[in-house]
């Protein structure tokens, strides 16, 4: 089992969120999620400037096996999308917490990270799923 990055926050839907120094947040899906989906073949990204509500559908990742929605861990406005995923969706498989990031978002003022899981809590969460 790979160690979860300690500087990220996590959701029950297997997204991760990183608070960047410039106040933006970067969002992707976890290693557990990419492993469950299998080889990714297509990523449908949102438009830059689009507003998304907390828990709203933000992107779709499709593997050889199935399509899966990616939900926004927090509300905010999309300021960047990982355009490389259009041609190389498998970056999410190979580097889910790095090159496989999906969007950057300007969070709304009411951003409340207490709704998200710490690395330890998320680890416990996925361990319980495997039982």
């Amino acid at each position: 089992m790979n160690e979860l990055p300690g500087d990220l926050l996590y959701t029950k839907d297997h997204e991760w969120l990183r608070r960047e120094d410039d106040g933006l947040v970067t969002i992707g899906i976890t290693d557990h999620a990419q492993g469950a989906l299998g080889d990714l073949v297509y990523v449908e990204l949102p438009e830059i400037g689009q507003d998304v509500a907390e828990a709203g559908e933000m992107a779709v990742v499709e593997s050889v096996k199935a399509a899966s929605d990616v939900y926004a861990p927090i509300g905010g406005s999309i300021v960047a999308i990982n355009e490389e995923l259009a041609d190389i969706p498998e970056k999410i498989n190979s580097d889910p917490y790095g090159d496989g990031w999906i969007v950057r978002m300007q969070p709304t003022d009411t951003f409340d990270e207490s709704t998200l899981m710490s690395p330890d809590d998320y680890q416990q969460f996925i361990d319980d799923l495997d039982d």
């Binding site: 299998g38 080889d39 073949v41 297509y42 449908e44 779709v60 499709e62 050889v64 096996k65 199935a66 399509a67 259009a86």
Partner: protein, 368 residues
């Protein structure tokens, strides 16, 4: 927990992702479904297909029984060992299951039917068999391994007893033989050359290990599905079921219309549908836009009507999404598919999409 094949521990040891399939715990993949897919197209892959149901029919009446039971005509089986693909229909012409029939001897034919349909198939076959001099015997003690790919037979030959090796390698496509304890058939579900092998479950783990040490890649049901989709081979329960006749599932070629006096189950219903001008057609689709076609998405043919994708997915060989779809009658070569509220462009293409390692469709094809 589902049923486990004789190879379950092998899959577990190899780190396979296990999923339920028709009540069986089966490997979905061993790491990368795409790599397993490519291994079969380029070299050789091994699949545990022990969940498939093997049924032996015995008796003097077995040929007459099969001529009544299935839509294709077993009279086409003239040589011992020859195999025939067919559908087994209900009285309404709907497909109860698709199966392969092997002609072992005049008093013994072997049927291989699907796993998820085992119970209803056995019940149906036994119900029909009471009118014939035939015994029905499920061979649950046999494991089944498919070895598929351009190098599959050569690599798998290492695992066959030396005395049978030459005869096994000399088998023509769609022929089979009994090689000691191993039943070898040159059949498959991938669009590649290869064998399907039945053997006592106790012998299967050693056979599997030997295949792998010969350089055959273990492959899961995920790759099996993308391979069969590229080869445009139907999946029961998805591309057809009891409400769909072979005529609307791309299986017209498996119906033995001649001789006209052979009265197989479902024949009357098929005859009616055969002359219907509104009979839906079963076609291949290639997605021209970005995205992935999936089962049950709506196909819209402008000015003609609507249909449905029965099997959709991503083709690792082509690098684009492909699908099988049931669409309205008519002569057209373009359509739209509704994917999450958007209409995407698809082209209707002649199947198979891929077989024997080569892409068979014109990917860049100009619209006619």
């Amino acid at each position: 927990m589902g049923s486990k094949t004789a190879l379950f521990e092998k899959h577990n040891e190899a780190g396979a992702r296990i999923v339920d399939f028709g009540g069986w715990d089966m490997p979905l993949h061993y790491g990368s479904q795409k790599q397993e897919h490519h291994a079969v197209r380029q070299n050789a892959g091994a699949f545990d297909v022990s969940h498939m149901t093997i049924i032996d029919l015995f008796g003097e009446g077995v040929r007459a029984f099969l001529q009544y039971l299935v839509a294709n005509d077993v009279a086409k089986l003239r040589d011992y060992g020859k195999a025939l693909y067919t559908a087994m229909l209900n009285a309404g012409g709907g497909v109860i299951d698709d199966l392969i029939i092997y002609y072992i001897s005049d008093t013994n034919y072997r049927l291989v039917v699907n796993a998820a349909t085992r119970d209803k198939d056995l019940a149906w076959i036994r119900e029909q068999a009471v009118f014939f001099d035939v015994g029905v015997s499920e061979r649950a003690e046999l494991a089944m391994i498919a070895v598929q790919g351009p190098n599959a037979r050569q690599l798998a030959a290492d695992s066959i007893a030396a005395e049978y090796r030459d005869a096994a390698l000399a088998l023509k496509p769609f022929y089979s033989l009994q090689a000691g304890g191993v039943f070898i058939a040159r059949t498959g579900y991938t669009g590649e050359d290869g064998w399907e092998l039945c053997m006592p479950a106790a012998d299967a783990p050693e056979f599997w290990d030997q295949l792998l040490s010969s350089g055959v890649t273990p492959c899961g049901l995920g790759a099996r599905d993308t391979l069969r989709l590229e080869a445009a081979m139907n999946l029961y329960g998805t591309d057809m079921d009891e409400s769909i006749s072979p005529l609307e599932a791309g299986l017209a070629w498996t119906i033995g219309w001649e001789p006209a006096e052979r009265d197989f189950i479902g024949r009357g219903a098929l005859e009616k549908l055969r002359s219907s001008p509104n009979r839906r057609q079963f076609v291949g689709l290639l997605l021209e836009d970005r995205g992935v076609l999936r089962n049950h998405q709506k196909v819209v043919v402008e000015g003609i009507g609507e249909g449905e994708i029965t099997s959709g997915g991503f083709s690792p060989s082509i690098g684009k999404s492909i699908a099988l779809a049931r669409v309205p009658a008519g002569d057209y070569d373009r359509a739209m598919v509704e994917v999450r509220g958007k209409m995407l462009n698809v082209r209707i293409v002649k199947t198979p999409f891929v077989c024997n390692g080569k892409i068979r469709i014109d990917i860049e094809g100009e619209a006619l």
